[in-house]
Subunit: 143 residues, 2 copies
């Protein structure tokens, strides 16, 4: 099972024309196993610094371009990254108190983008959007 996942990861890299290196496989495996988006520093830490930060940023940037990875902005000045499961468009809600992150599934991308184009004067194509919510989780409300 674990080797299955790793095989899938190797295939993913190859499909996109990347060399299958240990660092990139580890990186994608880590992202695949993460329940929430991670910052470059968190990734670096969880990989026990086995990859250089410059290399890490370069790999992440490549993956973002290839749409293997999404760069997420959670309004705290750092970029977060998460694996893009192709069939699973979603957003996030972040607790302003404890930092908890939950996925938000309800997003009708198509109708949202159509709506935007209807109301826009100067735009012809919408390629993507970022949508994140900020609030308080149940636990933090009780405090």
């Amino acid at each position: 099972m674990k080797s299955n996942t790793i095989e899938a990861t190797r295939a993913l890299l190859a499909e996109h024309g990347y060399r299958v290196t240990e660092g990139r496989v580890e990186l994608l495996t880590l992202l695949r196993n993460s329940l929430e988006p991670l910052t470059a520093s968190e990734i670096h830490l969880r990989m026990n610094h086995s990859i250089d930060k410059a290399t890490l940023y370069r790999a992440l940037e490549d993956f973002v371009v290839s749409k293997i990875v999404a760069k997420v902005n959670l309004q705290d000045g750092v970029a977060y990254y998460e694996l893009l499961h192709l069939d699973h468009h979603h957003h996030h809600i972040v607790c302003e108190n404890c930092g908890k992150i939950e996925d938000i599934e309800s997003c009708d991308q198509v109708s949202l983008q159509k709506k935007v184009l209807r109301s826009s004067k100067h735009f012809k194509i919408v390629n993507s959007h970022s949508l994140e919510f900020f609030g308080l989780c149940h636990a933090c409300c009780k405090k």
Copy 2:
């Protein structure tokens, strides 16, 4: 008319308990006159460096906390700021080619946040959200 605007700006500062200093009045006036969100560097430039960057960041941060100013994230690694006209909740669409920014008005905040709370397991309150679109403007499509 110009002095009217400045008076309104002075009042705004006072209302929020801030000292009415030349720098802060200039800053808010600049934001009021800007048609699009500006980065700290752009603001600094347009103010002819008449304000120190540290002071600028401190003022912007204060204003964000007081909800006089919104911090906007346009996915290019820098924070943008724009005046918050209270009655005017909106988002943006950015051209990935030329950087053009247009306001997007169609956002039913209330129903959007309700929808999120319905679908969320762990959250009780939504305080705000960020929503930005990325695409191509008509001019850049023709090229």
